[in-house]
């Protein structure tokens, strides 16, 4: 088993190396693209290291931009999850709440996240609050949908077992429905996190004074494709890192019934 895992590990590393080699051949060796349009991996790596400490041309270091983007994402995400979980649980577990809220919720959830941008800009401007609010809406909807369907799919037989042992409705929620829906919740958390991360970059491309999306936008207008690629790769890396963090949390909290 260990040996097999190691083999897959090697294959993954091999793919990354292959990618870098192809990139290097296309850019620096054969120069397939017009000069300056596709910087090679060496050039990008150099720009990356440089960008860690310089604030030109966009007024902030790479870490500064990462921090700015992450801050907005995490604020919107955490509030969205914190509000989404109880809302979804209430809807799934208490029929009157479901009857009351569902019609409005089903209507609102069909509105795509970006469609909220104009109205949110009117209400909250274009600063942190506005962007966090858009992320919040997306994350909230995603979280509610996932925990709702997770709880609705609780095995009836398992509910019966708890009921016959004498558990009340609230105890059944905490001892059966919630633990059995945890895998769904984590799927939802992962999906909304990557959606939030994609969303913030899109928002920053449109209107912003900092953040990774803004950095890419400035680099593009100044003809610095190397910095554009640095920005793209950083977005990818941070996204992968966030997903990994959630997967670690999943491993801690979800036992026995991981999907």
């Amino acid at each position: 088993m260990r040996k097999k895992e190691f083999k897959y590990y090697l294959i993954s590393i091999g793919t990354i190396i292959l990618f870098l080699v192809v990139w290097y051949l296309l850019s620096d060796v054969f120069q397939v693209f017009r000069k300056g349009m596709l910087p090679g991996p060496v050039k990008v790596a150099r720009s990356f290291v440089e960008k860690l400490s310089t604030k030109t041309p966009d007024g902030n270091t790479l870490f500064g931009h990462i921090g700015a983007s992450l801050k907005v994402v995490l604020i919107g995400y955490i509030i969205g999850v914190a509000a989404g979980i109880p809302s979804g649980v209430l809807m799934a577990w208490y029929q009157p709440v479901d009857d009351m809220v569902r019609p409005v919720f089903d209507f609102l959830r069909t509105i795509p996240g970006v469609a909220w941008i104009p109205v949110v800009t009117v209400w909250l401007g274009i600063g942190l609050k506005a962007k966090a609010a858009i992320i919040f809406v997306n994350v909230f909807v995603g979280t509610v949908v996932n925990i709702y369907s997770g709880i609705k799919q609780t095995n009836e037989v398992q509910i019966w077992v708890a009921q016959i042992f004498g558990a009340g409705r609230l105890e059944i929620l905490f001892k059966v429905a919630l633990p059995s829906s945890l895998p769904y919740l984590f799927t939802g958390l992962k999906v909304s996190l990557s959606m939030a991360w994609l969303g913030i970059v899109a928002a920053e491309l449109l209107a912003s004074q900092s953040g990774l999306g803004y950095m890419i936008q400035v680099a593009r207008s100044l003809g610095r494709p190397d910095l554009v690629i640095v920005g793209m790769l950083t977005i990818g890396l941070i996204g992968a890192f966030l997903t990994m963090a959630l997967e670690m949390a999943e491993r801690v909290f979800v036992k026995g019934n991981r999907k």
Partner: protein, 248 residues
């Protein structure tokens, strides 16, 4: 054969699912400490009866009483072993066995003691930290059985609990069930379609008809224990029940 008080009383029990009449005016009593087997063809409403008894289904007509009052799962100590596997996938074998004890707020010491006893009884001590996903069907069913026994229920409802087990284990668990029943004095209602199993276990055997289900006959079965499946009287009794079933 027990002349004690009535544990369970079913009075004119009728259950319809829409137009479909499943239970048709069934009345019978189960005595305290009795072991009652219910046999009947598959899909004849045996499970429906247990689900009505535990209030999982609403009753269309009639009533079911436990100790003279409508059942109350918070007061009555009841365990139900369902036909489908009902182990909680997110709990280990040990935690599954403790599930009912936790709901009944048993003190920690007793919880531990019962858990060890049950693990030993069903032979899962080595597998206590396994999750259901890692277990075979037979081990899963043993976990569920241990969970049901752990609370020492006053009323134990079993719906074809041994249907999925291999023969050897089934014989062992049948003997364990009898031992446990004798030791704890619990009242058992045991549903099966296996005539031999019913004759081996039951003090009375209630034979049901096909849908709409009525009680066909209730037979007393007071062979001495431990029962011997090759014994002449055992075979006679088995044939008598089988004969009743041949009617369908």
């Amino acid at each position: 054969m027990e002349q004690g008080k009535r544990k369970v009383q079913a009075k004119n029990l009728t259950k319809r699912f829409g137009e479909l009449l499943v239970l048709d005016d069934i009345s019978f009593d189960v005595m305290e400490g009795e072991f009652l087997c219910i046999v009947g063809p598959t899909g004849c409403g045996k499970t429906t009866f247990l689900n009505c008894l535990t209030k999982l289904y609403d009753i269309t007509n009639g009533e079911i009483l436990v100790d003279g009052a409508p059942i109350n799962c918070k007061k009555n100590n009841i365990s139900y072993i369902l036909q489908e596997s009902s182990a909680m996938e997110w709990l280990t074998v040990e935690q599954n066995i403790q599930f009912g004890l936790g709901i009944k707020r048993m003190p920690a010491g007793m919880k531990k003691e019962r858990t060890e006893e049950m693990l030993e009884l069903v032979g899962l001590t080595e597998y206590r930290n396994y999750y259901p996903k890692q277990l075979s069907i037979s081990m899963l069913q043993r976990t569920v059985i241990a969970r049901a026994f752990a609370t020492y229920p006053e009323l134990l409802l079993m719906d074809e609990p041994y249907g999925q087990l291999d023969l050897d284990l089934r014989f062992r668990l049948e003997d364990e069930l009898v031992k446990l029943w004798q030791k704890t004095g619990t009242t058992v209602i045991f549903i099966t379609h296996n005539v031999e199993e019913a004759v081996y276990l039951g003090e009375r055997i209630m034979v049901l008809t096909n849908k709409p289900t009525k009680v066909k006959k209730i037979i007393s079965c007071n062979l001495p224990r431990p029962r011997d499946v090759a014994d002449e009287r055992f075979v006679e009794m088995r044939n008598e029940v089988t004969e009743l079933i041949r009617w369908w």
